[in-house]
């Protein structure tokens, strides 16, 4: 293994879904601060390189830089350094996940990277993107600019696991473009404390019959701000999308946004924000938005925020389970990993992490 990686805690990385032993993984990319430290693929249907290297090797990929951002008239930040370029070749069916890890180590450092994923026609891939930081990385900032392209009939299952430390601010900016019959599944998990996360990833359904699904599980610790949303823009007929979020505030401030925007008819979409406030000091603000200029759409939303039901706690207590345990069992159940489209091994890992974090903060 790469020497720079020796100093990373394997356990911390596992909490972010990154397995350096590469059991059941088809490719790995690790960037520490500004430097891509490791990248390799174990599967021939894919290429995984630092973005700068990829453009040098395949000049035709230049066209993908900034393309997704301009599709929604969003400013594309060009001052990035590092990041990964993942190519999943036409027709490739990559069963084991591709793992990418973005690691913040320095103090007062600003990591600003550009990632691109290109899933070519008919290809399938699972990506685990683990972001984590060292305890030493105080006052650091992570800005991840990402563009995802899912071509005709492609399938991309993208899981982002944020596993930061209290002193770090994070601003991922990402846009996905999905062509005819393509599917983009985005899972987001953030269970560890962080100072601030602001993100509002968007997905544009560009081709007929394409589909998007965003699911998030967010745990807000005391002193943190998580302003997190998902947006789907419908630009083709017979498209559909679903946005689900489960947020739990144990004292932090959470803003759970969701926006479904139909720019053509024959769209089916649903948005669901469910929040649970566990601590007196917690706050959750759910902002679900539906928007259409057409009549022939089927769009709905559901939002509910509440506290843990006393009746449920007392029910479990009557089985001899003490109140704190009952509470954390219910919270863990609320953050239901079944809503995510995760590979089983990763789901188990997240269950373990959930258990650890909900117990320790009760």
């Amino acid at each position: 293994m790469h020497e720079e990686l020796n100093n990373l805690s394997e356990k911390d990385l596992l909490d972010a879904g990154i397995d350096l032993k590469e059991r059941q993984r088809s490719a790995t990319f690790v960037q520490i601060d500004e430097k891509p430290s490791l990248f390799r693929t174990m599967f021939e249907g894919i290429e995984l390189l630092p973005t700068e290297d990829a453009i040098k090797k395949y000049p035709r990929f230049e066209q993908y830089i900034g393309k997704a951002f301009s599709a929604i008239n969003k400013d594309f930040p060009r001052d990035t350094k590092g990041g990964f370029f993942l190519l999943v070749k036409k027709g490739a069916n990559v069963v084991f996940p591709i793992q990418v890890c973005l690691f913040l180590k320095k103090k007062s450092f600003s990591q600003k990277i550009h990632n691109v994923i290109l899933v070519e026609e008919g290809a399938t891939a699972y990506v685990i993107n683990g972001c984590t930081s060292d305890k030493a990385s105080k006052d650091s900032l992570h800005v991840g600019v990402s563009e995802y392209y899912v071509e005709k009939g492609g399938y991309l299952n993208f899981t982002m696991i944020h596993s930061w430390t209290e002193e770090v601010s994070v601003q991922p900016k990402s846009v996905a473009l999905v062509e005819e019959g393509g599917v983009f599944v985005s899972n987001y998990v953030c269970l560890k404390p962080v100072r601030e996360i602001v993100m509002y990833p968007s997905c544009v359904l560009n081709g007929r019959g394409s589909r998007a699904s965003f699911s998030s599980i967010i745990l807000g610790h005391k002193g943190s701000l998580q302003d997190i949303g998902s947006r789907v823009v419908f630009r083709a007929e017979e498209t559909s999308a679903e946005i689900l979020s489960r947020t739990v505030s144990m004292g932090g401030r959470i803003i759970a946004r969701g926006h479904l925007k139909a720019q053509c008819p024959s769209v089916k979409a649903h948005l669901e924000c469910q929040g649970l406030i566990v601590s007196e000091k917690g706050s959750i603000h759910a902002i679900p938005e539906l928007e259409t200029d057409y009549r022939d759409v089927d769009m709905s939303h559901e939002a509910a925020i509440g506290k843990i039901s006393k009746e449920e706690i007392e029910y479990l207590a009557s089985r001899g389970i003490d109140e704190n345990t009952a509470r954390s069992v219910i919270i863990r159940g609320f953050m239901d990993t079944d809503i995510l489209g995760l590979p089983e091994e990763l789901r188990m890992q997240i269950e373990g992490l959930k258990e650890k974090l909900t117990d320790s903060s009760m």
Binding site: S309, K310, E311, E312, E314, Y315, L316, A317, S318, R319, G320, I321, D322, E323, A326, V329, I330, R332, G333, F334, M335, D336
Partner: protein, 240 residues
């Protein structure tokens, strides 16, 4: 030997008095049946024993194995050996029946045995009580209670919503447990089906928050069936 003594308790719910001066004693190994019309306060009595919040005991005491329960939390009472089958258990989304079963009992073999006996295999990975049918809910409740290995089982209408075959299955599981453990049982019943499977030793009638007529449960049930609850109240063998 006495296991539970409900000592002259009065209970209010949301400021309204529901139970008045209830006095009742359940011996070790006994099966005590509580009859009474809808709304008379039967569930209120059981919830007061378990310690559910909102059920305020304004006077009297509840003694279990010589200790007062009144200052104990719900889970402490459960740990002392009291387990209740809820009439209307709440849905607990995200918590699976299997998960709870494992929290209640370390013995995998035992869990498997009761899963099999109570035909709960297909519900094992479902969220607790979420979309369970009436009968499924009662079987899942019985599973949890048996796994807790209590000294006192409180059953709030174990037969309601359960089909004839499942009542027989539940009755047998319960009977076997009571025999092997020597536990006592306090059971609310409208239909009397359950006491065809477990041998009841005592019975009493609750009307309007008052207890009447402690006696032979089978005779009591026959009398209620023949003359109705109100007539039962006038009967001169009134004890309590």
């Amino acid at each position: 030997m006495e296991l539970l003594h409900i000592k002259d308790i009065s209970v209010t719910v949301e400021g309204k008095q529901i139970l008045s001066n209830i006095d009742l004693s359940i011996g070790k190994g006994k099966v005590f049946v509580l009859f009474g019309p809808n709304g008379s306060g039967k569930s209120t009595l059981m919830k007061s024993i378990v310690g559910i919040s909102g059920y305020n005991i304004i006077s009297g005491d509840i003694i279990f194995e010589g200790r007062s329960l009144l200052n104990l939390s719900i889970d402490e009472r459960a740990k002392f050996g009291i387990a209740m089958m809820f009439q209307h258990p709440p849905k607990v989304r995200g918590v699976k029946l299997s998960q709870l079963a494992r929290m209640l009992c370390n013995d995998k073999k035992k869990i498997e045995k009761y899963i099999e006996l109570l035909n709960l295999g297909y519900l094992f990975d479902r969220d607790l009580n979420v979309d369970f049918s009436g009968g499924e809910m009662k079987r899942a409740e019985l599973l949890q209670i048996i796994l807790m290995r209590p000294k006192l089982i409180l059953l709030d209408e174990p037969e309601s919503g359960v089909d004839i075959e499942n009542i027989s299955i539940m009755g047998k599981v319960l009977d076997e447990y009571l025999k092997e453990s020597g536990a006592s049982c306090f059971v609310i019943s409208h239909t009397g089906y359950i006491i065809e499977y477990v041998k009841a030793t005592d019975g009493c009638l609750m009307l309007d928050g008052n207890l009447y007529c402690v006696g032979n449960p089978y005779k009591l049930f026959e009398t209620i069936k023949e003359y109705g609850y109100e007539k039962c109240k006038e009967c001169d063998i009134r004890h309590a």
